[in-house]
Amino acid sequence: MNDSPSITTDRLTKRYGSNTAVEQLDLAIPSGAIYGFLGPNGAGKTTTIRMLTTLITPTEGTAHIMGESITDRPAVIPHIGYLPEKPPIYDELTAREQLEYHGGLCDMAPSDIEDQITSLLDRFDLTDDADDRISTYSKGMKQKTGLIQALMHRPDVVILDEPTSGLDPQAARTVRDTINELAASDTTVFLSTHILPLVEEVATEVGILYDGELVAEGPPDALKERMETGEEGTLEDVFLDVTTDTTYDGQAEADPSGKIE
């Protein structure tokens, strides 16, 4: 793992009208790191990812991927591989065509495209269906296609928004192993997910987003120890602890109006 950060954000903020989706986010993720990006529904994970991938412009603040500003799309995109919440694939193509399409767009050598497609299809157990139209695929098969597409061109930074959604346990394990391999080859993985055990197993660093703000950050082990109880908790305890309204506990009785609902 080398120490020059591959993803940095500086007071990154996105507002939709009066609704703040992401608030003053500061991140510095070294290359080769596996960053587990957690947060309840609507916390702002997807919004952050869309800003990092240049698909939406921040309201305030800046961010850099491999030193390139996210306002400069042509400079950023050679470095990233991105799997959005909904896999970006065409129903009327077959998986093989879709992947060849992507490889062609990334300007990979045709032989390399074939090799990568063959090995990744095989790894994700999709070889038998690779020549059927994507419109006939199950949810998990589509997800696998999108995942292969995000990885096949060997980007420096892989950004995955809920990569295991819809996958069977076998495929989820493949995803876990693949992520570990990527990190071993110095690829940075930015992983948004709700599957805490996955994060616990693979992440070198975890950030928890709550209501657009980063409320906890650190290596999973350090986070688990920081629990107020002093005892070793699970990541789930930490998650629930930092993402519930702290003003709620014990304050109902102190409410001046005295109303208890």
Partner: protein
């Protein structure tokens, strides 16, 4: 035994009650759909007020004009062109039918059918569909028709006319909406049931569309007399509604049998159509669509192959891949085919001068070049966001604007240039022009093709991400993504307008030549013609360069918000 009787009576009771529930749910479905449409269009209150004012204004004007006609008719100053109205009625019926079929299949695409079917009876869904489709018709057609009817009848001092006209309009509309919904389910039924229909559907659409185009061209070119078409239209049963409407209007002579026939059509047609629709819809919804698309075959998008061999060395792979994917998409779902219909009307500009001149005058070639280039632009350039939509987040994060725009351009010109050049060369065989001028014409045509695709892409890159919605391709079960509302049409108008400006030099010079002007201000028209061809080519080149830069910049800055 007795218990069965009780049960079945209970069941029929439930059935009757269920009818009410069906209606209630149907109304709710329709109301929700109207709300969704309103929100999707997201018109500001100002725009809505302007539209409302415009509609009210139109209605008032229509009513007063109709009043004037009514008064004139009463004083025997004019006679009613009943025959023409009959033909027009059938023409309107066919137009409405096509429109409503489109609306129905679009609606069925939008509705969350599986959710609805697991929540309310199928009948409620059908009622919802019918109400949604007829709701818009009610606003548009019914208001116009009845305000004209009221104006005319008041002018005639024949209040009974208002009643009969409105009865006729309501009957006519119900029949057209219901036929459209039934027809649309029938197509769906064939698609889900017959693998053959499904497999050849694309081919079927292509053939049907070509036949229609040829038919139009034949009529436009004057090979089949318009009168004959007009007579067929007037003889159709849908024209009977005119007789029904005229029953309450004095000094007309509606045919008795026809007006009764119209009532009969409504009385028999509505129950039959409702029954047919229900039966078809239930069949469609309870069968899983059979999948004819398990082709087990992929086409190569990179590396060798015909396209690869020709272009590989000269064009960067990402650019080429964009174009190859576009062609593959076009093979599977021929969306650009439907774009080729728009400019067909301009064929008149090609054929008419030929009939007049007895040879192929330059002005015909100008129209031909415009049609070919414009169609290429519409087919391959317009709506770049819509064609990319399902995988847009990948495309934007993978290729640069330069590669994307070049690839799109490539897909268009490789398809369009041979057709344009070939068509011009072919027609030029019968023209009086020399080799040089003909070749310059071909060059100008090529320039126009490039220009039209680039303008279309530059304009199309402006359609906002949130305005793209799934739209069913007519007559097929395929869905494409396209812009909601008038935006797409406005862009199309701008594009054709710009292309028209680029064509202006050749248009004016060949128009002069058509009217046998030998020289203008001492300059021989031959020189003017050659000069105009060069000028148009130069214009096309510079406009293309500008549009290209604009398109690249727009792509690189395109965001999903």
């Amino acid at each position: 035994m007795r218990i069965w009787v009780v049960l079945s009576v209970l069941q029929s009771e439930v059935y009757v009650m269920d009818g009410g529930i069906g209606l209630r749910h149907g109304v709710r479905i329709a109301r929700t759909e109207w709300m969704r449409t309103r929100r999707q269009l997201a018109r500001s209150s100002v725009v809505r007020a302007v539209i409302a004012l415009f509609i009210i204004g139109t209605l008032v004007i229509a009513t007063s004009i109709a009043y004037g006609f009514g008064a004139a008719f009463r004083s025997a100053a004019i006679t009613l062109p009943v025959g023409a109205i009959r033909s027009l009625t059938t023409a309107v019926f066919l137009t409405l039918l096509i429109g409503f079929v489109q609306q129905t299949s679009r609606l069925l695409e939008r509705l969350n059918i599986n959710h609805l079917l697991t929540t309310v009876p199928a009948r409620a869904v059908i009622i919802g569909v019918v109400l949604t489709v007829s709701g818009r018709a009610a606003i548009r057609v019914f208001l116009t028709a009845s305000s004209i009817a009221i104006g005319f009848s008041l002018g005639m001092r024949a209040p009974l006319g208002i009643a009969t006209v409105i009865i006729a309009v309501v009957g006519f509309l119900s029949l057209s909406v219901l036929s459209a919904v039934a027809l649309s389910f029938a197509v769906d039924f064939l698609t889900t049931r017959s693998p053959r229909f499904r497999r050849y559907k694309t081919a079927f659409v292509v053939v049907a569309f070509s036949l229609l185009s040829i038919g139009m061209a034949v009529v436009i070119a004057g090979q089949v007399s318009i009168d004959l078409v007009w007579k067929w239209l007037a003889a159709a049963p849908t024209a009977w509604f005119v007789d029904l409407a005229l029953v309450g209007v004095p000094r007309t002579s509606p045919k008795f049998f026809q007006s009764v026939g119209a009532l009969g059509l409504v009385g028999i047609g509505i129950p039959v159509l409702v029954a047919a629709t229900t039966a078809l819809a239930e069949r469609v919804w309870e069968t899983e669509p059979i999948s004819a698309t398990t082709t087990h075959r992929s086409h190569s998008l990179v590396g060798e192959g015909r396209v690869g061999l020709v272009f590989d060395s000269r064009i960067s792979q990402p650019t080429l891949t964009i174009a190859r994917k576009r062609w593959l998409q076009e093979r599977r779902i021929p969306r650009s085919l439907f774009m080729s219909g728009y400019l067909l009307v301009l064929l008149l500009g090609v054929t008419f001068p030929i009939f007049v001149a007895g040879e192929v005058p330059g002005i015909s070639l100008v129209f031909l070049a415009f049609i070919c280039a414009g169609t290429t632009g519409l087919a391959f350039g317009s709506d770049p966001i819509g064609t990319e939509y399902p995988s847009l987040s990948m495309t934007l994060t993978t290729v640069s604007g330069k590669q994307f725009v070049r690839g799109t351009l490539l897909s268009g010109i490789v398809t369009g240039i041979p057709i344009t050049a070939g068509a011009i060369l072919f027609l030029a065989l019968w023209s009086p022009y020399g080799v040089v001028e003909t070749l310059l014409f071909v060059v100008a045509g090529v320039g126009l093709c490039v220009c039209s695709v680039t303008i279309a892409v530059a304009l199309g890159m402006r359609s906002p991400y949130s305005d793209i919605i799934p739209v069913p391709l007519p007559l097929s079960s395929a869905t494409i993504y396209s812009e909601v509302g008038a935006g797409g049409f406005i862009r199309m108008g701008i594009m054709l307008g710009l292309l028209g400006i680029v064509c202006l030099p050749i248009f004016s010079s060949y128009l002069m030549a058509f009217f046998d002007l030998v020289s203008v201000g001492g300059i021989p028209t031959t020189a003017i013609r050659i000069g105009s061809l060069v000028l148009t080519t130069a214009l096309a080149t510079s406009v293309s360069a500008l549009a290209y830069r604009r398109a690249v910049r727009l792509y690189d800055r395109y965001t999903l918000s």
